[in-house]
Each structure stands twice: as structure tokens, then as C-alpha cells.
Symmetry: C2
Subunit: 206 residues, 2 copies
DNA sequence: TTCTGTGAATAGGTTCACAGCT
DNA sequence: AGCTGTGAACCTATTCACAGAA
């Protein structure tokens, strides 16, 4: 497939959220202008984003809400569900396990790991915290595509190496470090401090 | 000041983190190649990013670690500290209050608000959860530049309207909605579900 | 010689504008 | 008439490549 910009993928995700709301409200069709309003973008951008994947609308009419929703789910790979393991049983990890947005979209946290012996064995939202050393043997039994890394910065690369070794193909990283992975593994980093700093930058440079 | 790309600002934040580590380790100078390696970018990109703000290096030598760190802190507006209020005393909110990365960089959470009467009055990491209705009067007494919004999607826009009314100029939004604000207010949205979906997209389109 | 600083070239993403269905 | 689909134009960001200072 032709290369798709990450910004396009993120917008598709926003469109989908709005389509799902419209579906519930029983709207049959929707225009690129409607989607744009809700996605914080322009009608042309919406149409261009969709055009990378095909022609889903009807000229003069707009898009069928359920059809477009299904199509975007398909594009985003949301027709299947995903097993997700979480490494790092700290506060942020704990918040993420419970985050309803994940489960709603088919991302199921199936295991939580931590290095701290004191945490291992405790229950978290119905899951028993396991020792990080089990990752390799566990994932052999229960192949898993996605891992969320919420460890301290120092520990992250080593954890990621083990995850990659164990066959994980996609990593959502909350540790504030640049991770090295082989080319067939995708990493998406979320850096909370950096997000705040874009705000302080904006405040300082008005 | 000339318009700076957000990607540039985010990279500056990464460079700074690495510079701070190097400072501790007592490195005197650093090259754009070193910074690039750690920031996951190229030496040319590092130099270009910095060049928007001035010429801080010595040709043939590199950059003075403490000088460059100070300069980036200045650029990012980190020479002062910021009061931050948090709206939404849920799990993610709780995790964020404690996140050490915020405090380290001078972002101090000074108040937590929630709409839920059951939560109001309880202690969270040394702070008493207040009623959202107090926002306006509280911020009149304690002017605050930054707010973190961690409410459900439905409540976010109303909360943001109140925050803006109360003089907040920058908002970090974790609610999965597009927020409308006046042009002098900056909003940065973090959408966890969308991040995961960029991963499932990548997995589905290999 | 080494490594920065920066204009110029290239690549990437967004917006325009209009042809083409319905 | 209305709204999509899309090449072309435009704008923004990254990379190149080299002159210039230490």
C-alpha cells in the first residue's frame, strides 16, 4: 500500500469516533463538511484522507454513516481485537488498564508486568501483576502484538528488547526515551512532559 | 517571533532532557550528532531547530552543555514555574498529579476539581478535591495559566469554557473531543485511543 | 580538520478548484 | 443543485551541501 501520513491516520480515528456517535443518533448520511467540523479540519482534508483508501461517498449526498464507519474500522485494523500487555504497574499503568476507551475499541489488556517484587502478585483490575522475567515464556504461550511500556526511562529499552524478542510488533511508549527497535516493529511515543512544554513555549512566545 | 513548527518545539524538549542528563554526567560539550542520536533525528535537523532561535554552538567543537540547556529552558519558557489546575479526579487525573516529570520541569498542580460530590473533599496527593463550581472564584484569587482537562468527553467543552472565562491560557486536553477556544488560548490534545489506533493501523497494513 | 550555521533543493502535507456523479 | 473525488498549486518541514569559524 502507498504510504499514508500519520496525521491522516489520526484524523481517521477522530472521524470514526464522530461516526459512531452519529450512528447511535440514527443519522443515515453525513457530509465531509460535518466530519470536518467535528474533526477540527476542512472538508477538503476529509475527502483527501478518505480518497487514499477508496471512494466511499455519493456525490451530491455525502457518506453513509454505517458504511463509512465500517470502512474506517477496517482501514484502522479494528475489525479484530488485540491482546495488549502492559509493562509497569505504576500509577499511569493502573490508569491505563482501566481506561474504557481501549476496551471499547477492541484492545484487551491481558497481562501486567512489573520488576518490583513487592508489586508482583498483587491484583490490578482483575489481573495479577506478573514478574517481568516471565514475559518471554508467557508470550510464547500467548502471542501478543501490542505492548504498552510505562516503566521508568532507564528500564524502558531493556524491556522493549525483551518484548521485541518475544514477538511484539507494536509498542506504545510512555517512558521519556527514544527507543531503538528493528524496522518491522512500530513504536509510538507519548511524552507528557513534552506536551506540557509545547504549552509553556506557547505561553512564553506570545 | 517567526512561526515555529510544533515538531521543532517537541524536539527541543527531547534535546533538553538529554542535555540535563549530560550535565549531570559532567559532559562539557556536545555535538549536533550526539543530540540527534538521542533525539531520534538527524544532525542537520538539530542544527536547523536551534538556528531558528540563534547560534549557540562553536564551529569545530559543538555546544556547551550547560549553556545550551539554559538556552532551551529559556526558549521553552521553563525559566519560571507554572501553576496548573487539574479538572477531573479520575484514575488518569490521579496518575498525572503524581507524575514526577511535571514537577521536575516546574509545573505545579495547585488544585484538583471534580463535579462528583462524592469525590469533592477527599484528599489526593496532599490536595483536597474541590467542586468544579469553585473554578471561577478560585482562579480569581489564584490566577493560573495552565489547566489539564481529564473529564469525560461530554463534560469537557463546558469545563473548558469556564476555564477560559477564568483566564486560563493553555489547556492540555485528555478528553476525546475537539475543543473550541478563543484564538489567544492554546489547546494541546492527547488522545490515547487514537495513539493505539495508529498502532493497529500499522499492524493491519504491513 | 572538525563541526556549526544556513541558503537551496527536495520531500511531504494541505488547500484549491473544478470536473463528474447522483 | 449538491457534494464527492482528485490533479495541480501551494505551503511547510526536512534534508542536502557547503561556506565559514574554531
Amino acid at each position: 500500500m502507498r504510504k499514508i501520513a500519520e496525521s491522516t491516520v489520526r484524523r481517521l480515528s477522530l472521524y470514526l469516533r464522530y461516526l459512531e456517535q452519529s450512528e447511535v443518533q440514527g443519522h443515515g448520511t453525513i457530509s465531509s463538511a460535518d466530519l470536518a467540523r467535528r474533526g477540527g479540519t476542512t472538508p477538503a482534508q476529509v475527502r483527501k484522507d478518505l480518497s487514499f483508501f477508496g471512494s466511499f461517498g455519493k456525490r451530491g449526498l455525502g457518506y453513509s454513516v454505517p458504511e463509512l464507519a465500517a470502512k474506517i474500522r477496517d482501514i484502522l485494523g479494528l475489525k479484530r481485537s488485540y491482546r495488549v500487555v502492559l509493562v509497569g504497574a505504576g500509577r499511569i499503568g493502573g490508569a491505563l488498564v482501566q481506561y474504557p476507551g481501549f476496551r471499547q475499541r477492541g484492545f484487551h489488556v491481558t497481562a501486567i508486568y512489573d520488576k518490583d517484587r513487592k508489586k508482583v502478585g498483587s491484583r490490578w483490575n482483575g489481573l495479577v501483576v506478573r514478574d517481568v522475567q516471565q514475559i518471554a515464556s508467557d508470550l510464547k504461550k500467548e502471542p501478543t502484538d501490542i505492548a504498552i511500556v510505562v516503566t521508568p526511562a532507564e528500564a524502558a529499552q531493556q524491556v522493549v528488547d525483551e518484548l521485541v524478542q518475544a514477538g511484539v510488533k507494536a509498542i506504545l511508549n510512555f517512558a521519556p526515551v527514544q527507543l531503538a527497535v528493528p524496522p518491522d516493529v512500530v513504536v509510538k511515543s507519548v511524552n507528557m512532559a513534552a506536551e506540557l512544554e509545547t504549552l509553556s513555549f506557547a505561553l512564553a512566545n506570545r
